[in-house]
């Protein structure tokens, strides 16, 4: 199985690798996946409190190349988006952008889950009501 150029590029030069201070009230952290499943993604967003725009996003991922590329791409997309725009990111957008093969679709699902989970964390920290919405698969 050959990887797409975009996956390889994100894998070799991952964007926004790192850690944000999760104790800050404007930082939301999503940790999804499990070591036993072979992938764990941690995605963090830092929200500008005045404009409610995501001003920074960081990730660290334990997983295969597609998982790393999916989370790297997700952080790129998140920066500059509003929370609502971020919530609209769909895993199939990631699949399309990275040309992921069917066996790797779960990597994109995980990235979408990580985004949603980071946003939920941010909202909870800031006393915003969170509708019960979760992906199950």
């Amino acid at each position: 199985m050959a990887y797409s150029e975009k996956v390889l590029d994100h894998f070799k030069h991952p964007k926004n690798v790192g850690t944000l201070d999760k104790s800050k009230s404007n930082v939301g952290t999503g940790l999804v996946g499990a070591p036993e499943c072979g992938d764990v993604m941690r995605l963090q967003i830092e929200v500008d409190e005045e404009s409610q725009i995501i001003k920074d996003a960081k990730f660290k991922t334990f997983g295969c190349g597609s998982a790393i590329a999916s989370s790297s791409l997700a952080t790129e997309w998140l920066k500059g988006k509003s929370i609502d725009e971020a919530l609209a990111i769909d895993n199939m957008d990631i699949v399309e952008e990275l040309a992921l093969p069917p066996v790797k679709i779960h990597c994109s699902v995980l990235a979408e889950d990580a985004i949603k989970s980071a946003i939920i964390d941010y909202k909870q920290k800031n006393g915003v009501q969170v509708e019960a919405e979760s992906h199950s698969h």
Partner: protein, 405 residues
């Protein structure tokens, strides 16, 4: 820009030795005969070549050339041995014992036998990958007709106590079958010395061509027979019909001869290189584990887990080294290696495993380059890994509630 490619996946298949290729070439065009044609010189020459190949292979494993049945490879040999013995000896009993860490060719043949009404015990192995002989004894019933235990494991290189298993089989009057694919040609293998009655192996794991394998079938004390699984012209003493792969057998024979000649030299050199690779990685990286027994394993194999690094991702960090991983991501099933799981490794360590299998054509430079790439790759992946960061912060990963998916 071409990158120097380093092949460290010799347990998957080996490059054909150029000396083997040379011996095969005339048998494609100049000597085109069918070894079963008895009426003209073309056939006689082909038959002569097959006889000679059979002799070379028999010599390598110390058996009579009449005890070698040619097949298309070890998978077919495993199928023939297991299904063929089950059919042949079904009057004596219907129970087979094997290991959970066997190759799929053995496990899936056993599954088929179960469908045909047979009973199969899939024994677990110890943490080091080796069968517990007491458990093996306990699994034997008066219906047990055959025990199938591989000589050396393809993923870990772990070698089973063949002599002791052979003694148990002899004492109980049970057939002893072994998939010796990874051992033949690499270490001394003599089925008669350890009491094996059926033994599968193949050419392409020992620097011969693909598409040709063999099944050793013991002829005396006891005389063993298996029911053919391929019907036709009654070739190979009626146990395996089909026109023989003459160039393949010529190459297989030459490969066997060369393995016999070079075994001591190759083994010493490759085990030194393997140890060098292992020491380098284990000295320069934290949290690296060897999977399987260190004392009973093939000289050219090491299976390592790099904790908190996913195997397929790690392999993507280098584009110049061919290795394989027990990571789920490398398999269609998304399940990590069943062999490593049977050793009691957690899923996380199985996902983090890389198998290095060295071969005759690897050089010291290969090993040094591979070690460099691995060190860089593991460090890169750990910089990216949230669970490595958590581990470094002293967080007990067992206590984290993960969102399974």
């Amino acid at each position: 820009m071409s990158v120097r490619q380093i092949y460290l996946d010799n347990n998957s298949t080996t490059p054909v030795d150029p000396r083997v290729v040379d011996t095969m070439v005339p048998y494609f065009h100049e000597i085109p005969g069918n070894a079963a044609s008895r009426t003209h010189p073309f056939g006689w020459k082909a038959e002569e070549a097959v006889d000679y190949g059979r002799e070379q292979i028999a010599n390598l494993i110390g058996v009579d050339s009449k005890e070698i049945i040619f097949t298309s490879g070890a998978t077919e040999s495993d199928n023939l041995a297991l299904k063929g013995a089950f059919e042949m000896y079904s009057r004596k009993g219907d129970h087979i014992i094997t290991l959970q860490t066997e190759h799929k060719a053995v496990l899936d043949s056993c599954k088929k036998i179960e469908k045909l009404g047979g009973k199969v015990t899939y024994l677990e192995v110890e943490r080091n990958g080796i069968v517990d002989l007491n458990k093996l004894r306990e699994a034997i019933t008066d219906k047990t007709i055959l025990i199938s235990i591989m000589w050396a494991n393809n993923e870990t290189g772990v070698i089973q106590p063949m002599k002791e298993i052979g003694e148990i089989c002899a004492e109980k009057g049970i057939l002893f079958m072994s998939d010796a694919t990874q051992a033949v040609g690499k270490i001394p293998v003599n089925p008669k010395e350890v009491g094996i009655h059926l033994m599968a192996f193949t050419s392409h794991k020992m620097y011969g061509p693909k598409g040709v394998g063999a099944l050793f079938v013991n002829r005396k004390n006891p005389r063993v027979k298996v029911t053919s699984q391929m019907d036709g012209g009654g070739h190979e003493r009626g146990m395996r019909s089909g026109t023989l792969n003459v160039p393949g057998i010529v190459g297989f024979g030459k490969a066997a001869e060369l393995c016999g000649q070079d075994m001591v030299k190759d083994t010493q050199r490759l085990s030194a290189l393997r140890d060098k690779l292992e020491n380098n990685l284990m000295t320069n990286l934290e949290e690296v584990y060897i999977n399987g027994s260190v004392d009973h394993r093939m000289p050219h194999v090491t299976n390592l887990s790099f904790k908190h690094v996913e195997g397929e991702g790690l392999m993507m960090t280098f584009n110049n080294i061919a290795v394989s991983s027990g990571s789920a991501c490398t398999s269609a099933s998304l399940e990590p290696s069943y062999v490593l799981m049977a050793l009691g490794l957690g899923d996380d360590l199985a996902h983090s495993s890389i198998r290095f299998s060295l071969g005759r054509f690897n050089t010291e430079e290969d090993i040094d380059l591979a070690a460099d790439s691995l060190l860089k790759g593991v460090n890169h992946m750990r910089d990216l890994s949230p669970i490595w960061e958590m581990y470094k912060e002293g967080i007990d990963l067992e206590s984290v509630v993960w969102s399974e998916h």
